[in-house]
């Protein structure tokens, strides 16, 4: 900075006796007046009071200076206010800075001489720094105010409805042939024992009919490009071979000659090669399973086409690439079911009537393979049920954590069993119980009252299930009662979404050590992922129950609604980092360092570039750059080194 030095105006606040009582204000004022580059010094009783702020406003109007220093309390108290006040008289925020002589001098230095000395040092630092304060812009950016939601489960659905009802355009991308996620596969939700499909059906209908919501099902997201406010999401919609004219009347199902094991029924039931997940699904249109359909495997067959009253069958359908420009992305990919098929020496399996909880839920569901009847593999009705808690959890080989929701499901299984089977006996084998919440303990008590026998073992790993004389024998250390039952349910926890890894690759978000989406901040920002504008909702964040999943979906929607506002530009951080393209050698040391992944490499120019729309101004890149090309606005090397000089020499 050769040439003209800036003239600095200095305010000294007495803060009543808070500063004036500990620091000799006359001596301080006299000292400041003698400092080079000081345009004027003004003292005041209390600058933050209305009269004080008037004083600031009037002074900066009547006096001349290039930059202002306010030596008073902590900048965390009133710097913003003083910047606004001085801003009214044309001062850029970068030219209005506070020096903390209250919290960091007057209040912590009992010796008056030392307090004065320290105040002088800090003011000297502020004066030196002010020479290098460069005006800051208030950057803004146009943004889209719509959202793309990846995953049509309950969290995604609720987020979609909240956004769509507020007038935003929403696209739901769903990998399955229709939406509803895992909740549509259950019967009742504990502890209130509400009917899940009943809760969900009206929501699905709203989605179907909503003018602001587009559902792209049977699709896989292939790209998430751009950044907050300006995303482009691309997906491939796989060919359905059935048009939107289909209303799901099932006329084609009747005539289709091919039976296939149903994935919706977890292999416990069958469907035809042309099928829907369940009656009343959204979208209503059926799908032809190309792998198994005779028409596509080379044989002559047009049974479905002939039977369709609406001409909805279209063998010529192709995969389609869908591209959506949107403002935010909400990942609601759900959780996963852990694989417990190898537990208990392979006894687990439908054929042995040892079911994983999702399988039991299917069986008990009215839209399940048996219409809700709980029956053994051979069709007989089981009279007794054992539920093994924590199956595949709290172990080194399975999930290492407690999912927190499965104890309730484990107890619910017993209630469903007793409701559907007269005189059904239920045994729950557990070592601990997670019954958090106001209703959960009561639900547990009710189950015990109604006959569920709780058998506590001292060692989960000792639980064993063997087939003996046609019955399932369950043993565990510490359980003296002999448990011989017709059916066993393994109460499994919740694993991360099987799509999680692929989705973090697409979005650049992060997973925690368990495979769930890492939040932007563990306390202050759990709704967002580590990428600004990419939210996570539902159980893909961590195992959770239905009300929590819904809350998370609504939270994500709320965040989007509050930040992306139609007609309003996105206000961006002004103290961002930037990289001087002339100095950058393209060494890429800064890219890995950015906690927001805001820096990318421009291979054509051979330099790294900061995306100032998502930069938060932490300055870590500036401290890392070996070529001094990366700088942090308002905290440049020059400014900090000037402050240091003032502190050491002042």
């Amino acid at each position: 900075m050769e040439g003209a030095r800036k003239k600095i105006g200095v305010f000294l606040c007495k803060c009543g006796t808070n500063i004036a009582g500990a620091v000799d204000m006359d001596a301080l004022t006299a000292w400041v007046e003698k400092q080079p580059d000081v345009a004027w010094v003004r003292t005041n009783e209390l600058l933050c009071a209305p009269t004080g702020k008037e004083f600031v406003k009037n002074t900066v109007e009547s006096e001349t200076c290039d930059s202002v220093i306010i030596a008073a309390c902590s900048p965390k108290m009133h710097e913003k206010n003083f910047r606004e006040v001085a801003g009214e008289k044309g001062f850029n925020i970068a030219q209005v800075n506070m020096v903390n002589i209250r919290e960091q001098a007057a209040w912590v230095t009992p010796d008056k001489d030392q307090a004065l000395e320290k105040a002088q040092s800090l003011i000297a630092a502020g004066l030196e720094r002010a020479q290098y304060n460069v005006d800051l812009d208030k950057p803004e950016m146009e943004c889209k105010t719509d959202a793309a939601i990846i995953g049509g489960g309950v969290a995604g659905i609720e987020a979609a409805l909240m956004l769509a009802n507020a007038g935003r355009k929403v696209t739901i991308f769903e990998k399955d042939i229709s939406i509803g996620g895992s909740v549509i596969k259950t019967e009742e939700v504990a502890p209130a024992m509400e009917c899940a499909p009943c809760l969900l059906a009206p929501r699905l209908a709203e989605i179907r009919d909503h003018k602001n919501i587009t559902v792209v099902s049977n699709a896989e997201v292939t790209d998430v490009l751009g950044f907050f406010g300006n995303f482009t999401v691309k997906a491939t919609r796989r060919a359905r071979f059935v048009t939107a004219a289909c209303i799901g009347c099932e006329a084609c199902f009747e005539v289709c000659p091919v039976w296939v094991k149903s994935a919706f029924h977890l292999g416990m039931g069958d469907r035809k090669a042309v099928y829907t997940a369940f009656p009343g699904s959204v979208p209503a249109a059926a799908v032809i399973d190309k792998e198994n359909c005779r028409h596509f495997t080379g044989e002559e067959c047009s049974a479905c086409k002939d039977a369709c009253p609406f001409g909805a069958i279209d063998y010529e359908d192709n995969d389609e690439v869908i591209e959506v420009e949107t403002g935010a992305v909400i990942v609601a990919a759900g959780g996963g079911d852990p694989d417990v098929s190898q537990l208990f020496d392979g006894v687990a399996g439908r054929e042995n009537n040892v079911l994983a909880m999702p399988e039991f839920e299917r069986l008990a569901a009215s839209n399940g393979p048996t219409g809700g009847e709980i029956v053994c593999a051979d069709g007989s009705v089981p009279k007794s049920l054992a539920v093994v808690h924590c199956a595949g959890s709290l172990s080194e080989t399975g999930l290492s954590y407690c999912s927190g929701i499965c104890c309730m499901t484990a107890l619910k299984a017993g209630e469903l069993f007793r409701k559907k089977i007269d005189g059904g006996k239920v045994f729950n084998i557990h070592d601990r119980l997670t019954l958090a919440g106001t209703e959960q303990q009561h639900f547990f008590d009710k189950q015990c009252e109604e006959g569920t026998v709780m058998l506590k073992t001292s060692d989960l790993s000792s639980v064993n299930i063997v087939m003996k004389e046609g019955r399932l024998q369950v043993t565990a250390s510490g359980v003296s009662e002999s448990v011989a039952v017709d059916m066993v349910v393994l109460s499994t926890g919740m694993a991360p979404s099987p799509s999680a890894e692929r989705l973090v690759e697409l979005t650049a978000a992060d997973l925690d050590e368990y495979g769930f989406f890492r939040p932007g901040h563990p306390i202050l920002q759990t709704t967002s992922t580590t990428i600004d504008g990419v939210y996570a909702a539902g159980s893909c964040k961590s195992p959770c129950d239905v009300p929590t999943a819904i809350t998370r979906g609504q939270a994500a929607a709320g965040d989007v609604l509050s930040r992306l506002i139609p007609g309003k530009k996105l206000e961006l951080e002004s103290m961002t980092a930037w990289i001087d393209g002339e100095l950058c050698a393209g060494c890429k040391m800064c890219i890995a360092v950015c906690p927001y992944k805001a820096i990318s490499f421009d291979a054509e120019k051979g330099i790294s570039i900061v995306n100032e729309a998502i930069c938060r101004g932490c300055g870590t890149c500036a401290a890392t750059c070996p070529g001094k090309a990366a700088q942090a606005r308002h905290f440049t090397n020059q400014q900090i080194e000037a402050e240091l000089k003032g502190v050491l020499n002042g």
Partner: protein
């Protein structure tokens, strides 16, 4: 028209900077033809008295290489400054202290001990002789220059016009420098005659560096079988490239060895501060593994400041300075 007069001098030097002039091969004949070499103790029999006899500023340009370690070197540097119009700090030692400046990590007494008493090739004698600045033998007074406690760079003792770092500067750079100086089209005073960007801008391995470079351990070059095409940092080996000026044509990297930083830091920064910052950025390890991750760099001061100790913020002066 008289040919411009040119001088070469070596202070605390290995002779490599003299060698590099010879590396001009047949082009050295053009140089010799274009100038009048009036002082070059390494190559020809010149005396200090020859320089003392010159007019002030008589030499158009004087190339001074080597660090300043002794009183003699300081005296001669000052003499040459007086007699030259333009002085170039030639080579890393003159610019930044070079390898001799690593002595700033120890002390003069330790060095004397090591050289004259504890070295494996010396018969240890606690009372054995150690060089003195003055002594007498056979009735004659002998004087030796004093070794300073600190190794200095050239501009610590005289005003320098231009800098050409390198250990040594490449022949191509010497050629360019000579041509520039003789052309009269001089860059601003105090310039470094090199691009002001890091080596990575030219290095052909930079494109192999992943954009999101993260390593979990530093390894020494002999601990790996170095991939001849992949960026060294990506292989976990310390390469000073990011914190070192471009301009050498990276022969070390082409020889499958990482850059050791001889062209010095970019932008006059502290080379160690820059590299510590950069390495800290790409090391992705938890606190518990951090020391182990760094064990593959047992001598960071030596690695970062191998050539630039005299221009470092904390390593450029030692105990008991004579200055």
């Amino acid at each position: 028209m008289a040919k411009p007069k040119v001088g070469f001098y070596w202070c605390a030097s290995c002779g490599g900077c003299e060698e590099t002039v010879v590396d001009l091969d047949e082009k050295v004949l053009d140089v010799v033809a274009a100038v009048d070499i009036v002082f070059w103790p390494c190559a020809m029999d010149f005396k200090y008295s020859d320089v003392e006899a010159m007019e002030d500023g008589e030499m158009t340009v004087c190339f001074i290489n080597g660090a300043i370690r002794t009183t003699e070197q300081e005296e001669v540097a000052k003499l040459l400054r007086k007699k030259s119009t333009c002085v170039i700090a030639f080579g890393s030692c003159a610019c930044m202290g070079g390898i001799p400046a690593l002595a700033n990590l120890t002390s003069r007494s330790e060095i004397m001990r090591r050289a004259y008493k504890d070295s494996p090739s010396v018969l240890h004698d606690e009372n054995g002789p150690v060089p003195q600045t003055s002594s007498s033998a056979g009735g004659v007074e002998l004087h030796l220059p004093e070794l300073y406690e600190t190794v200095y760079k050239l501009d610590d003792v005289i005003d320098v016009d231009f800098y050409l770092p390198g250990c040594p500067p490449t022949a191509a750079l010497v050629e360019t420098a000579v041509q520039t100086l003789l052309s009269g089209n001089l860059p601003p005073k105090k310039s470094v005659l090199l691009p002001d960007k890091a080596l990575c801008v030219s290095c052909d391995r930079n494109s192999t560096k992943p954009d999101n470079l993260k390593i979990d351990k530093l390894k020494r070059i002999h601990e790996i079988k170095a991939d001849p095409e992949l960026c060294f940092l990506a292989q976990g080996v310390l390469c000073m490239g990011p914190a070192t000026r471009d301009g050498c044509g990276y022969p070390c990297v082409k020889g499958n060895m990482p850059c050791t930083g001889c062209f010095g830091p970019v932008g006059g920064a502290d080379q160690g501060a820059r590299m510590a910052g950069a390495l800290g950025g790409i090391l992705e390890v938890g606190e518990k593994q951090l020391d182990d991750a760094l064990s593959g760099m047992p001598d960071p001061a030596g690695s970062f400041y191998r050539y630039s100790m005299s221009s470092s913020l904390l390593g450029s002066s030692r105990k008991g300075d004579a200055k």
